[in-house]
Amino acid sequence: MGVSIFGLAWRSLLNRKISALLTVTAIALSVALFLGVEKARNAAKSGFDNTISGTELIVGAPSGQINLVLYSVFRLGNATAEISWQAYEALDAREDVAWTIPISLGDNHRGYRVMGTNLNYFEHYKYGQRQDLAFADGREFDDLFDAVIGAEVAKSLGYELGTPIIITHGLGASGFNDHDDRPFRVVGILRPTGTPVDQTIHVSLEAITAIHVGWETGTRNPLVDTISEETIRGFDLTPRTVTAVFVGLKNRATVLRTRRAINTNKTEPLLAIIPGQALAELWQVMSTAERVLLAISAFVIAVGLVSILTSILTSLNERRREMSILRATGARPGHIFALLIAESTFLGLIGAILGALLIQLILLIAAPILTAQYGIALMGTGPGLVDLYTIGAVTLAALILGIWPAVTALRRSLADGLTVKV
């Protein structure tokens, strides 16, 4: 029969298009910000957890588990100490160990970390849901001065197979400390992984030893130029130390026992950590900032919701005649109350839905750019339960907030009687 209360509320909002549009925009932007932060947090956590998988233990010199995971997995910072090659060999020889990947860090190329390792890396290192490393082009390193580069290194530096690479000693800028007497050659380019692997230049452990011949004091020996590449190839290039070791076990159930055995090693102090635990601890540290960000965006939603209140409350005075007309035509207090609540709920619902759509649109546009430009894969950012919960919560909050203007309108309509002299 004619127009329902919801129909009246909807038409009333359309009658105040600009005010309603501004309010909906405020809600939509605040919801988009909130969902954006939430999705970025989830994507970061997902990417974080997927950085390494299938590795039961990471072993390094004793420091702290966060420090060890930061430099070995994320290539951030430096190890305070290294572990000896003998200790590595003993570790590799353990009966409960299936495979090991020794890594040696310390040098860089144009800001990208150079990592010495062995071929086990390409066979056993896994990321994401136990995904193997795969080559986009070329092959594993074979020759002493071969290099395999990550996807982002190739893309951002424009490198391809055969491109020569000069490694710089330490983490400083290129120039004085370049190992320019022993250039490498790109022989393989890995597919993007969305992990620090994409930003790494991989060479053999022997190559790390080779480029440091003549650098034993930490600086370049002027006589180094007199040593030919051929001479170096004849040296025993077995490394004396490695930075860390990724360990795979024959039986995952023995991980705690193996970790304890390594951590109580008598011959050389070692630190073995379980990557999942270390990542969880690291995320715990980061999650404080993430929670603050989430709280800020929740407050932005609150501000958006207040805009609903402001919009409806400021319109009430000019709508006193409208309320009187409705009362005179038979509308009961409940109808007036429901009308205002419906308006508030509509504003919240539409704003929240538009906000959720807006963030999906932004992600749709930004995701390929982030992947192409920065190798960041946004995982788990599609529409999901969090969007539904947010839309539901914002709508419910709008409904509850609508009680205030509804009660105010009700009181005024009762006091005004049939006619309003405004």
């Binding site: 004619g2 009246l8 409208e322 005179a328 038979g330 009961r332 207090p333 049939l418």
Partner: protein
């Protein structure tokens, strides 16, 4: 003899902190009667209408509408009586601005089952609204689909009259409905309203400060004649 549509006895009303505005010993309005109630601005005409409509509550006395003592009814029952049996026309701006002509006319049917069944029996709300509008001289389908704010003041008042008449109310209250109309339009509007009210035997309580309109009604009274509070104020 039929019972009066409105029967007031010993009514007293004052706004909070104000001297008594209304003190009416007795007042009756018969079914089908067209009564003109005049009085200057501020004399309490609109307040009396609010009390009859059950929107305001009396301090003392009784107001019966169709035999139901409004002073004894709960707020929701008074609302129900108003929705079912009263049609109200205001001075100006008395249409919902965001609804079309037809939507404005059928609005009261949304709040009253009695009116719903009345218009359903007459062929449906939309059809009944168009019939009433046509009787009042508004037939153009294009005009009926328009938003009411696009209409002239005279057209708006006719829409308001159709809204008050839909669903055959027993009492039509008109509060200064012609004050913004020119003399010709005003007389034609009152004629149309009276004719429509007569068809359904609805009582018409027409309030205005313009005494010249009195001749168009069955009976005319000055509020001061029935309001002892006004007489007392005048004496003072």
């Amino acid at each position: 003899m039929t019972a009066p549509v409105v029967n007031i006895a010993d009514l007293r009303f004052a706004w909070p902190g104000q001297p008594p505005l209304l003190d009416v010993k007795a007042f009756e309005l018969a079914a089908g009667e067209r009564l003109f109630l005049r009085g200057p601005s501020g004399s309490g005409k609109s307040t009396l209408l609010g009390l009859i409509a059950g929107v305001l509550e009396t301090d003392q006395g009784s107001i019966s509408v169709l035999g139901q003592d409004m002073t004894q009814l709960s707020g929701s029952r008074r609302d129900q009586v108003r929705a079912d049996h009263l049609g109200v026309i205001f001075q100006l701006f008395n249409l919902v601005p965001y609804l079309s002509v037809v939507q404005n006319v059928i609005l009261p049917c949304r709040f009253s089952k009695r009116r719903q069944s009345e218009v359903t029996a007459a062929g449906g709300a939309d059809q009944e609204a168009r019939r009433l509008l046509a009787q009042l001289g508004l037939e153009d389908p294009d005009l009926l689909a328009r938003n009411v704010t696009d209409l002239s003041v005279g057209q708006q008042q006719r829409v308001a009259a159709a809204r008050a008449l839909i669903g055959n109310p027993s009492l039509i209250i008109a509060d200064e409905p012609t004050s913004a109309l020119d003399a010709d339009t005003r007389d034609r509007f009152i004629g149309l309203l009276s004719a429509e009210a007569k068809k359904t035997n609805a009582a018409l309580l027409f309030v205005s400060h313009d005494a010249s309109l009195a001749k168009l009604f069955d009976r005319a009274i000055d509020l001061s004649e029935i309001n002892a509070a006004a007489q007392l104020a005048g004496a003072v």
